[in-house]
């Protein structure tokens, strides 16, 4: 087979495609970060071995199931368990003791992708003896990613790294006690997922659906422009109870948004804010 040549797209190509998808399917990607979006589409051309932009455009316009595949590929699902152990350490030490004072805890993982962070959170809550009185809502726009999350099955090859992250986050048990290894897969303890609720939710178009004491949305906003980031942060603000916590990715911030004055960052460099107004 001939090696696939990388096809680079112009800004006009990207505009055309965004317009096609909005008009034909009602999906609005116009406020996605253009540079990342362009990379997603260029990557799609490569992995699907398409020969031109015109071919991609034609398939999207005429084949709805192909369009669904495109949506899944646009949504970045790269994630890991207990990524940034320092962040989880602060959750353990600062946030979870406060959550413990509530009779009933509700957590929202917005843009949970394949669910690694939801399982990480469940482990922390179980170790704190709080999982039984918690509901973990995990949403994403990508149904294929959600199906993986629901299964609780992750590649065994990742476990060594996750185990390191676990120890660095202050974990004291044997990480392997949380999963059963079978061939190249790790099946996580179903007791962890009992309190998880998975649902599709699109941060671009959907609304607030509940109130929470903790909302986590890590490395999702980076794919949006400032306008859409502000919309989503307002959505989180509406969904967060007074004194609730908002967690973002290590290099993300609320400083450009209209909700910033209502939040106070928890001491240290981790991206955790408390709603104070």
């Amino acid at each position: 087979m001939e090696p696939t040549r990388t096809i680079f797209l112009s800004d006009e190509d990207i505009e055309l495609l965004i317009n096609d998808m909005a008009v034909t399917y009602g999906y609005d990607f116009s406020d996605y970060s253009k540079a990342s979006f362009k990379r997603r589409i260029e990557r799609l051309l490569m992995i699907d071995h398409l020969s031109s932009f015109a071919e991609l455009r034609y398939r999207i316009l005429h084949d709805e199931s192909y369009f669904q595949h495109v949506v899944e590929e646009i949504s970045v699902t790269v994630t890991e368990m207990l990524r940034d152990p320092g962040f989880y350490r602060i959750l353990r030490e600062t946030v979870i003791p406060l959550l413990a004072t509530y009779p009933f805890i509700k957590v929202w993982h917005a843009g949970c992708a394949t669910g690694e962070e939801v399982y990480s959170m469940a482990i922390l809550l179980q170790e704190a003896g709080l999982l039984h009185k918690t509901l973990l809502y995990a949403t994403d726009m990508n149904p294929a990613a959600l199906a993986k999350a629901r299964s609780g099955i992750f590649p065994l090859s990742q476990m060594q790294q996750y185990s390191k992250n676990y120890v660095a986050s202050g974990g004291t048990r044997d990480f392997s006690s949380y999963y059963t290894a079978s061939y190249h897969l790790a099946q996580f303890d179903p007791a962890l997922s009992e309190k998880m609720i998975f649902a599709t939710h699109n941060l671009v178009t959907d609304f607030s659906f509940n109130s929470f004491q903790l909302i986590l949305c890590r490395n999702v906003l980076i794919y949006f422009n400032k306008k859409l980031q502000d919309r989503v942060l307002s959505l989180f603000d509406e969904s967060l109870e007074a004194n609730g916590f908002l967690a973002l990715g290590t290099k993300e911030s609320i400083r450009f948004s209209s909700i910033a004055p209502k939040y106070k960052q928890i001491a240290g460099k981790e991206k955790l804010w408390k709603k104070v107004k």
Binding site: F8, S36, R39, N219, I222, Y223, G249
Partner: protein, 192 residues
Amino acid sequence: MTYPASLVAIGGSAGSLQVILTLLDTINAGFSIPVLLVLHRDPQGESRLEELLSLRSHLVVKEVEDKDIVERGHLYLCPADYHVLIEEDGSFSLDYSEKEHFSRPSIDLAFRAAADVYKEKLVGILLSGANADGAAGLRYIKERKGTTVVQQPSDALVRYMPDQALQQSAADFILTGAELTHFLQRLYYVSP
């Protein structure tokens, strides 16, 4: 001969840090063109790189956060384990998608995104490294009329990366680490 630039993007991997530190030591204090540094870094553990660069540079050193705006007099360092892209409005976007050439940040991705925005006003420099990342990105800059520089392979601690770039005919200039300082002094800032 002088060259206009809105941004200088420098990519490097193994063996590039010493060249960068020397560059920062020797560059004229009047130099104020924004610099983006795309280095392959260890994603694990705390890094003192930002601090180290700050001590050696008169430029304001900043590890990129999402949506930071590119400003004059700043040196931007790509954070470990994120791709760094640039938007049309001159803001950075971070990206945590698949690695390219086993790398995140990927020099290719950063170079391409910067070239899309700055075109002929971008200067791309590729230094020492043991990885093919960056060569195609440099070529992409050249095709969009930007100015490209490759560290002379015999001068590089690890010549693989410069060699890859030369094989792709991506270089306008082939310079030693020492010559890079003089080259940078011949750039003048233009708005994007």
